[in-house]
Each structure stands twice: as C-alpha cells, then as structure tokens.
C-alpha cells in the first residue's frame, strides 16, 4: 500500500454529505486535503496519486536497472 487516507467520521462528518476532509500519508510524507467539496478533494487526491505513482514508477525502474547491473 502506497498511500493511506484517514478521515474522521461520525458526528455528521464525511458520510452522506458533500464535503470531506482527509490526511493522506505515505512512506516519507503526508498531505492534509480539505475541508472542501468532495469533487475538490477528489481532484487533489487524484493529483497526489498521479504524482506518487510517477515517483514510484521511477523508483522501480531504478531498482530494476540496479538489479540488472549487479547481475552482470
């Protein structure tokens, strides 16, 4: 798992309403998103996913290259 988003629920928060608030955590960072409309939360979250995915993919590529080198 690369990202985990936490949000408070209960007390009228998050469920069955239009706004939300998250804190997203990953291995070496975190990002607070909102409170904002769920569509805005989604845009920021999707942007973060794209950014972290790119970072992850480049790490993988580097790891694969390193593995190939060590085999030689």
């Amino acid at each position: 798992m690369n990202l985990i988003a936490a949000n408070w629920v209960g007390g009228g928060r998050a469920f069955d309403r239009d706004d939300n608030q998250l804190t997203v955590y990953w291995a070496d960072g975190e990002l607070a998103i909102g409170p904002a409309d769920k569509t805005e939360i989604a845009k920021q979250l999707a942007g973060l996913i794209a950014e972290r995915f790119a970072a992850f993919a480049s790490l993988q590529t580097a790891a694969t290259k390193a593995a190939k080198k060590s085999k030689k």
């Binding site: 936490a6 998050a14 469920f15």
Partner: protein, 349 residues
C-alpha cells in the same frame, strides 16, 4: 481543442444570406466577450443583409468573403483558414447553404472551408417554416447530422416573413453557450491526455448491503459521492477507470466503466477481477465489516420480543488485494500499488 496558447478558442463564424444575419453581430460580440478569437466569413448573399464593416469592428479582423481575394489569400489561404479554428459556426445557415454542404459543394469560400476542414462544425439553421419543413431540407439535415455536424435550433415562433412556425434561428446566447460548452468538453477530453494516460485505475465506492433475510439488509450511510468524484478525477487525469460500486443513487461518471455490486463478498470478487489488469486501486467504499452468519431463507416473522443476529467478519478488501499484489510482485513492469483513502474502520462517503 484550443490551439492558441494565450487566448480563448478560435471560432470561425460563417454567415450565409438570411435576414437572421443581423443576430450574428450579437453572436460575434458574445464570442469575443468570452475571450474567443473570432474570424468572420460571409457569403455574397450574407453581405446583402449586413455589412462586413460591422463584423470587422466587432472582431478586429477583416471579414473574408471571397475565394478570389488575392490579398486575403496571400495572408492566409483558404486551406490554412479551414484549419485555423477550433470550431466552425455557421449562423445563420440557410436552406441553400445547408443543401450545398450536404452535397459537398465548394462553390464559395464558406462551403470550401467546410469541405476542407476536420474541425467541429455547428450550424444554426434559419429559414421560412415551409423551407425548413420541406422534405429536401429535412433529408439534408439528416445527412448533416449523420456526418457529425451539430445542429443548434431552429426555434419556433413568429418569423421575419410574417409566418409562424419552426425555422427561426437559435438565439445568439444559445448558439454561443452550446459551442463554448462543447469546446470546453473537448478541452476536458484533451486533458484526459494526462499524467495517468495508459494507466488502469480501479475505484471502489459506496456502501455494501449485507442481507438479513430476503427483504432486509444491514448497510451504512455511505453515499458514494467521494468515490464517484475520485473516479471522475482519475479519468480526467487520463486513467482508464473501473468503478466498483455498491448501491448508490448517483449517475455513472462519464467515460468510467461501472461494475455494480451489493454485498462485501461481491465487492471483493469484483475488485479482485478488475485489479487483474490495474495499476492503481483506490478503496473508497464503506465496506460492511460484518455480514450475517446465516441469511434467513424467508422473511423473519415478528414473534419474539428480542432478536439476535449473529454476524461474521467480512474479509478486508484492501488486505486481500495487498496479499495478492505482493505474491505477484515478481511481475516485470511497475505494478499495482493500492492506495487506500479510508478511516480506521470506514471509508468516507
């Protein structure tokens, strides 16, 4: 498709000869006010109804009206002009011009541009009600529609000729908003050429329903709003999106593949199947933590004063999928990394 970098969309506004041509002055003005770069083209007949000078003043560009204007052709040839706009808007579009376009004529600048372009074309027909109702015109309209031209209007009402019926040109406000909305959608689709282009994302959303008997179930207050918004946002970044959704009352986001499901077990199976080809998983659903240990075959009768329900813990979808991912971690290309927007026990919705 907005090709100029600092200005708004490029609109080629083409007028054919009808009394409704006067309304196109306001249309030109509306496009300009919305930040569009507007080039007006007029047929010889249109010039008999309204002066080119009007449009030159409104758009800041000389009007083009002839294929044989050497100076204008030298500045921008008609083929180049046909490729310049983000959209061609023909308003008013007369019965004659529509007939020529339907049959591929290119005997003036307007029809030549239409024939030589691959840009979206919008037409706002304007003519007498009998000309509009004529089988020839209607056949031409069917042809144009089938070729992807977008027809705006015509409206119905009192006509300049004194008759009452269909054929009145659509109001400038309607034409402008239709064209600009379509261009905005096009731009949004282009944005789909984004950072997640070529990636497959699976999103789970909504609640699950855990049946008690044939007519009752346990569920939660999840609306699905957050998950549907995430699916739409990932699609906007270029991802191919599969949305595994519990029962909600939301419309499916455009361009997203829907997989409906009801129980946690069904959602797990559907998510596993969808994830076989996925790069990204976002678990937004509020999956029931427990299900009934036994589902009554018939509606439970109101007999005893208290009723106990034995519940069994549901498998955690993300835990299951993470296990599946790590067991296939030896795959070659950078693979799935499930991300999990959720609280300790519940996703948000």
């Amino acid at each position: 498709m907005v090709s100029n970098s600092n200005a708004g969309p490029r609109i080629l506004l083409a007028l054919s000869g009808g009394i409704a041509a006067y309304k196109s002055a306001e249309l030109a003005r509306r496009f300009v006010k919305q930040g569009c770069d507007v080039q007006v083209v007029m047929t010889e007949s249109a010039l008999r109804f309204i002066g080119a000078q009007t449009f030159q003043a409104l758009t800041g560009k000389p009007v083009r009206s002839s294929l044989w204007d050497e100076a204008a052709e030298a500045a921008m040839g008609h083929i180049e002009l046909a490729r310049w706009p983000d959209a061609i808007v023909i308003a008013p579009a007369t019965a004659n011009t529509l007939a020529k376009i339907a049959h591929g004529f290119a005997d003036d600048l307007l029809t030549t541009l239409v024939l030589a372009t691959d840009r979206p074309i919008f037409v706002a027909p304007a003519m007498n009600r009998l000309m509009w109702a004529n089988a020839a015109t209607q056949a031409n309209m069917a042809t144009l529609r089938s070729r992807g031209l977008r027809i705006i209007g015509p409206g119905s009402g009192e006509q300049a000729c004194g008759e009452i019926g269909a054929g009145r040109v659509a109001e400038p406000e309607e034409v402008a908003s239709t064209v600009l909305a379509a261009l905005a959608r096009g731009a949004a689709l282009q944005a789909a050429d984004g950072p997640l282009q070529g990636r497959h994302a699976v999103v789970t959303a909504g609640p699950t329903r855990e049946p008690i008997d044939p007519v009752r179930f346990i569920t939660n207050r999840s609306s699905g709003k957050q998950g549907y918004a995430v699916a739409a946002a990932l699609h906007a970044l270029g991802a191919e999106v599969t949305l595994v959704s519990g029962p909600v009352s939301l419309p499916a986001p455009t361009g997203v593949r829907m997989v409906p499901c009801e129980t946690a077990l069904e959602m797990l199976a559907a998510t596993q199947a969808a994830c076989a080809t996925a790069d990204i998983l976002v678990g937004t659903a509020a999956v029931a933590d427990y299900r009934c240990a036994a589902i009554a075959g018939q509606k439970i009768k109101k007999k005893s004063d208290t009723l106990g329900l034995e519940l069994t813990k549901n498998a955690d979808i993300l835990t299951e999928l993470r296990a599946a991912c790590s067991s296939s971690a030896s795959r070659q290309k950078p693979r799935s990394w499930p991300s999990m927007p959720r609280a300790s026990s519940n996703a948000r919705n």
